[in-house]
Amino acid sequence: MDILIISFSNSDYDRAAQGVAGAGRNLATVLGGRLRAVVIGPGNAAMNSRLAAVADEVIVADQAELAEYQPEIFLQALTSICRDAAPAAVLFGNDTYSQELAPRLAHRLSGSAAGDGIELAVDNGAIRVRRSVYGGKAVATIELKRSPAVLWLRARAFEPAPEKDSATAAITRPAVDLSMRAPTQIIERKSEGAGEARLEDARVIISGGRGLGGPEPFADLQDVAGLIGAQLAASRAACDSGWCPPSWQVGQTGKKVAPGLYIAVAIRGASQHMAGISDARVIAAINIDADAPIFKHCRFGIVEDYKNVIPLLKEKLAALQR
């Protein structure tokens, strides 16, 4: 049985898309089917050809009605494509659009969905997915009872798909009837920090929590970030306080990041926060409380009021970088 992977053409064949393709290739091999890639949205020839190098077929859905993301129309298009393809599994990344559409698509295909998967397996023909539960305190294995399995994956948890040795895949363009009147219409969109590297791709992250006590200290963290090429992030508590935009939130219900170094400043280390940084290579923390749970995850740390640390840290880093 075939595996479908879904990519939105408004992004690139980035690490997330590569991970989804890798997971799809493994599953296709186990099930003895083809890996078929669906690219949906406005035409993106670069993405089509990158996928053609790793998949067995590329299905491009770029007709005029799909020029920009509209949930009801995209859902209609994917439903139609998936019905025709009758796959064993449909795999998405864990971006906003994927999470929004996957459960509804599963419902329309009479399949089952499960999300934020970090491992896939096949047991007696049934697809199983591992994901963290209870705010990151436990990990569960879930068996999907209906087919297709519609899954969204924590894409960076999967190795990228290898390029094929053989010829690149055929690109097909199915005609989908999208002449529906959508009851909802996205009328405005705004990206903050457009042009900046995405948090998910950051090599170094400095993240601030409620212990900062206000928005101003984020400016000091920005100075430190500038010295070591880091990006800024935050805990839910800091975002809910309005000290920084919601898109900075890292955790179970925020960004899932995988930097080489994550520096947590005045963040307690609640399991829901840690769920977003389980793929970080090194975690370091500045916290006034030696018993803060964050230190259970840290390679190194300093127990001290951040107010005393940050000005000195700026000096030291500047001197060391010279």
């Binding site: 949930p71 906003t96 929004e100 559409l101 459960p103 509804r104 599963a106 419902h107 089952s112 999300g115 994901r131 963290s132 539960v133 209870y134 705010g135 305190k137 436990a138 990990v139 569960a140 294995t141 879930i142 068996e143 999907l144 009872k145 009851p183 909802t184 219409q185 996205i186 009328i187 405005e188 969109r189 705004k190 990206s191 903050e192 995405r198 170094v204 839910r236 975002c239 809910d240 898109s247 219900t253 170094l261 520096i263 399991s271 975690i283 370091a284 500045i286 230190f295 259970k296 995850h297 390679r299 190194f300 740390g301 300093i302 001290e304 640390v309 000195l312 840290l313 030291k316 880093l317």
Partner: protein, 267 residues
């Protein structure tokens, strides 16, 4: 505007990791001395609904599918000033799968009657499923917008703002509509007044059984047939933290800075 807010009662997610245990047999967390609380995103949803009602008028019905304990979640919703409370009694599997839940909620909503808006949380703090809103929309046959953090009444329909990976989108929508609510600085749930808490204790709660709402009660009681938890475990992952040492703060920060440079240069 008739608004239905679906609330899920969960094991307190603030239980520290060191006190967290699982029952491998039952494949769920051990409750121990932990409280049951209303899922935070459901409270964000109720708060968003209350603010919308302040602007547009209307009625808010709080809907919970849970065992009898679910009454607590409804009392709290009433104390926050929801107008009505409905409890669908779960006398079966403690964690029915998300399609079973959506099926029950849809049947209960049909029983409640007309609605313009159904609001659910983006995900629950226990199993973190994140599917009920989408599945419920399909069960009801209405559109859905996810990760919403603000709603306003526009000239022709609702204007809905939702968060995306790097910003936001605004949508115009007809009603009825299902939205899943995420947190922002404006929908932090209000603390109910003592007087309202006392009043909520005397307000009526409508109780419905699975047999009364016209679902396949046997299948729901068995947990549904969408997916099944086959295994649950606690990952062991402990790193030893090296606390920087030194006689003065200057020395300690110096060491801290050196470690940072060491790691970043090796990347």
């Amino acid at each position: 505007m008739n608004i239905i807010v679906c609330l899920k009662q969960i094991l307190d997610p603030e239980v520290p990791a060191r006190d967290f245990r699982i029952d491998a047999e039952k494949k769920e967390a051990v409750r121990g001395t932990a409280n049951l609380v209303t899922n935070i995103f459901c409270e964000n949803a109720l708060e968003t609904a209350l603010q919308l009602r302040e602007k547009t008028g209307g009625r808010i019905t709080a809907l919970v599918f849970a065992p009898e304990s679910g009454e607590d979640a409804l009392r709290k919703a009433l104390a926050m000033k929801a107008d009505e409370a409905v409890l669908v009694i779960n006398d079966g599997h403690p964690h029915p799968d998300p399609l079973a839940v959506a099926h029950v909620l849809a049947a209960a909503i049909s029983k409640i009657g007309v609605f313009d808006l159904v609001m659910v949380g983006r995900e629950s703090g226990d199993w973190g499923v994140g599917q009920t809103g989408g599945l419920l929309a399909e069960e009801l046959g209405v559109p859905c917008i996810s990760f919403v953090d603000n709603l306003e009444n526009g000239t022709d329909g609702l204007i809905v703002t939702r968060q995306t990976d790097n910003g936001w989108e605004k949508a115009r929508s007809t009603t009825p509509l299902v939205v899943t609510i995420t947190n922002n600085e404006y929908n932090v749930p209000r603390i109910p007044k003592t007087r309202d808490i006392m009043m909520s204790a005397r307000q009526p709660i409508t109780r419905l059984t699975l047999d009364e709402i016209g679902v396949d009660a046997a299948s729901i009681r068995a947990g549904g047939n969408y997916y099944e938890i086959v295994d649950i475990s606690i990952p062991v992952k402990e790193v030893t933290c090296e606390f920087v040492t030194g006689d003065s703060l200057d020395e300690r920060v110096d060491q801290f800075a050196k470690r940072i440079i060491e790691v970043t240069q090796a990347l």
